[in-house]
Symmetry: C2
C-alpha cells in the first residue's frame, strides 16, 4: 500500500531523503517537505526535478513549519494525509514531532537522538531521557516509531543484530567504527552542521563496558583499525546514540563507538575548544555585543553542503562484533563502503549525508509495505535486519561482511 | 625644569608609564591620565597610591577624553598645563594627539606607529604614510616629537645607534631580536591587546635588505638565535615599526626584525587565521547577528593585564649589529633583559608592558631637563643614546653589550 510521506528538515540529509523518496514514489505516495524556511524546501524539490528523480508523476510539495510546535506538525500531517513522517530536522525537535505522530497515528522515523539545546551529553542511557518515555504511548496508540534509523545510529544497529544472529551464540563485544577517508579539499570543515558536530565532542564520552557505563574524555582513547578499502585509520572512543540502545539489548557485551579523526581535525578542535570558541554560552565583546562563540565559528566555517561538488574518496562504517559460536571465539566485521563522488552524482550530496539519508527512506518503504509496521516504538536492532539489507542492496548502500572466511556480500554463500 | 605630563591611554603600558612618572615626579611636574573610560584611569591612579609610588606629594588626576578628537585633546593640554604628552593609547589615535601637540606646543612621545583601523601593513616606509608628513609642521612650531619611544620600537633604535657609533665605521646589518621567554601559565594568551597583536602578523612582512624593501609572509623565515640569559630561541622575520625608520637612517645596512614564537603560539595563530577567525571584516551568524570574528576571539582570550600576577621568566630584546671597523668585520649584540616577576612587584604589570612603558618616561625626563628637547620630530636613532642609557641604568632597564670581548654593561671599561 502506498503511503504519503512528510519529511521534516531541509539540510543536507533532507536533500538525500527527498531524492530517495522521489526515486521510490511508486512505493511511497505523495511527498511533502517542511522546514522553518520554505525556500530551502523549494530548492531541494527543484533539485529533485532537475535530476528527474521522480520515478513516476506525483506530488512533491513544500511547507513552512515550526517543528517545535507539536500541534502545527499534527495539523500538517492531517492536511497532507501523511502516514509516515521522516524527521531529519534538528535534534531539538524530535519530541514535538513524535508527539504529533502519536496524536495523529502517523508512523515516525528519525536518525538522531533528541537533544535539549541547553544540555550536552546527559545521563546515560540517553534514549531513556526522552524517547523511551513515550514507548507505552506509542504502543497504546499503535504508532510505529523507529528511532535512530540513519547510518550511525541505524545501519550499525542492524549490523550488530545481523552479526549476533548469523554468526554467534553469544556476543561479547560490539565495536562500531566510523571512518570518513574522503577529502573535501578545504583547510577545515565539519561534514554536517558545525554546531551539532562539535556538541558531540565537547562533553563526556560514554561507553558500555563490563556491564556498566564507563566515562572518558574525547580523544583520550585512540586505536588504529585496519578496514576494507580505506586501510589503516586511527579512530577514537566517542559518545554516540547507538551505544545507548545496543547496551540495553546486548547488556552482556561491551559496546563502544569509534570515530575516525585525522590529526589536523583534532588539532583544530583542540585549539578552538581550549580557547572557549566552541562554547554555547554567550560572551560579551569589548564593544558590548553579546554573542555565542560557537555560532561565530559556524559562520566562518564552510557550509557543509558546499563541500559536495569537490568531495572525493570513500567512507567505511561498520561493526566489529566478537562472540562465541559452539564454544569457539568468532569475530566478524559487518560494514558498508560509500563513495562521495557517486553520492554527489546521484543526489547532489556528499557521502556523509548520503549514508545518513538513504536508510530512513528504506525504513519508510518497509513500513509502507507492512514489513516494519509493528505499531510500537523500536530501536533498529529490534527489527529483523534481512529485509533492510535486501532493500539497501538495490537502492544504494549494500552490506558486506569480512571474517576469517573472507570479504563478501552479507548474503553470499 | 619640571614639566607637567599628560598620559593618554589606560591599558597595560599606561599603567607602567603612570607608575614610573609617579616615581619621578620630582623631575616631572603635575601628572594627568586620560582615556575614554575614566574608571580605568582611576584604577591606575589608585594602584599608584597603593604602591606609594609618588616620589613626592603632587597632582595625579584622571580625565575622560576622546583622543580621536584633536580639539578635545588640545583643550585638555591647555587645561592641565601639560608640556609633555605621552601617548600610549590605541595606535589609531597618534595623528590626532600629535596634531593637538602641534597646536598647543606640547612635546609629543609615542611608542607605536599610527594605524588606520581599516588597513593592515600599508606601503613602506610606514612612518611616511602619517607621522613624517607632519615633520615640517613640528619644526615650524618648535614642537619636540619623539616617535616610537617604547622598547621595540624605541630602545632597539637606540641600541642600533650605539652599536654603530661605538663599535664600527660602517654598519652592514641590524637584526633586532625580541624574545619573551616568560611563562604565563595559560593555554594561550597574547601579551597585549589581541586585536592589535594579531593585526601585526596577518599582513605582509616587510624587511629592508640589499637597499630595497623585501616582502615575505609571516612565519615564512625562521632562525634560531642563541641569546644571553634566555638561551637558544627560535624567532621569525616579522614586520615591525622600527624597520621603517632605521632603513631610512642606515640605508646601506640590511634591517630586519625577528620575533620569537613558540610552536604552540604559531599553531593557534595558524588555526585561527586559516579559519577566518582573525578577520577584522564582519560575518553574519545563522541567526542574523553581524559580528567581527577578531573581536570574539579577543573576548574569549585572557585580558593580558590579568597575566601579570602569575607571569614568570625573562625577556631578552636586543640588536645584533654587524659592520666593519678599520677594515675588520665586527659584530655586537646590544640588549636588555627584563624579569616578569620583578616588573609585577614594582608596578603591577608583566614584563612586556614594563619594557614598553619605562622608556617613554625616560624620554619625558630627558625632554624635561632639556637634553632631548630638540624642537622637531625625531625617531629614536636620531638622538644620542648615551643620556638615555645612563638614565635607564638607574630607573629600571639597564643596557648590556655582548661581543668578542664578552658580556658587560654598555659603559663598562
Amino acid at each position: 500500500m502506498k503511503r504519503n510521506v512528510l519529511i521534516i528538515g531541509a539540510g543536507g540529509v533532507a536533500q538525500v531523503v527527498a531524492h530517495k523518496c522521489a526515486q521510490n514514489n511508486d512505493v511511497l505516495g505523495d511527498l511533502h517537505l517542511a522546514s522553518r524556511t520554505i525556500a530551502k524546501c523549494d530548492a531541494i524539490i527543484a533539485s529533485v526535478h532537475d535530476k528527474g528523480a521522480m520515478k513516476q508523476d506525483g506530488v512533491f510539495q513544500s511547507h513552512a513549519i515550526d517543528a517545535m510546535d507539536s500541534d502545527a506538525v499534527a495539523a500538517l500531517i492531517n492536511a497532507t494525509g501523511a502516514q509516515i513522517v521522516i524527521n531529519v530536522g534538528s535534534p531539538f525537535v524530535n519530541m514535538t514531532v513524535l508527539e504529533a505522530c502519536i496524536q495523529t497515528g502517523a508512523a515516525y522515523i528519525d536518525t538522531a537522538i533528541h537533544e535539549d539545546p541547553g544540555k550536552i551529553c546527559e545521563t546515560p542511557p540517553w534514549y531513556a531521557n526522552y524517547e523511551w518515555k513515550r514507548r507505552d504511548a506509542c504502543a497504546a496508540a499503535g504508532v510505529t516509531a523507529i528511532l535512530g534509523a540513519g547510518f550511525d545510529p541505524g545501519m550499525v544497529n542492524a549490523f550488530a543484530r545481523h552479526a549476533a544472529d548469523a554468526y554467534m551464540d553469544k556476543v561479547t563485544s560490539i565495536d562500531i567504527v566510523d571512518i570518513n577517508a574522503g577529502n573535501h579539499g578545504r583547510y577545515f570543515s565539519t561534514n554536517f552542521d558545525p554546531e551539532i558536530n562539535f556538541r558531540e565532542f565537547t562533553g563526556t564520552v560514554y561507553s558500555w563496558q563490563d556491564g556498566a557505563w564507563q566515562t572518558n574524555k574525547m580523544f583520550e582513547v585512540g586505536r588504529e583499525w585496519d578496514l576494507p578499502v580505506v586501510g589503516k585509520q586511527k579512530a577514537y572512543l566517542s559518545g554516540h546514540d547507538e551505544v545507548h540502545s545496543l547496551s540495553a539489548n546486548y547488556p552482556d557485551a561491551d559496546v563502544r563507538f569509534w570515530m575516525g579523526f585525522g590529526d589536523h581535525y583534532i588539532n583544530v578542535f583542540t585549539v578552538l575548544q581550549n580557547l572557549g570558541l566552541l562554547s554555547e554560552q554567550p560572551v560579551t565583546t569589548a564593544e558590548g555585543l553579546e554573542v555565542v562563540p560557537l555560532k561565530v565559528v559556524k559562520a566562518v566555517l564552510p557550509d557543509p553542503s558546499s563541500l559536495a561538488p569537490d568531495y572525493t574518496g570513500k567512507t567505511c562504517i561498520g561493526d566489529l562484533v566478537k562472540g562465541t559460536k559452539d564454544g569457539e571465539e568468532v569475530e566478524v566485521f559487518v560494514y558498508n563502503m560509500a563513495d562521495h563522488k557517486d553520492a554527489y552524482n546521484e543526489v547532489g550530496s556528499q557521502g556523509i549525508s548520503y549514508t545518513a539519508g538513504v536508510p530512513p527512506v528504506a525504513f519508510a518503504m518497509l513500513i509502507a509495505d507492512g514489513t516494519y509496521d509493528k505499531g510500537t516504538m523500536m530501536n533498529v536492532e529490534e527489527l529483523d535486519p534481512k529485509p533492510l539489507f535486501t532493500l539497501l542492496d538495490t537502492i544504494g548502500l549494500p552490506t558486506r561482511v569480512r571474517d576469517a572466511d573472507g570479504d563478501r556480500a552479507w548474503n553470499a554463500n
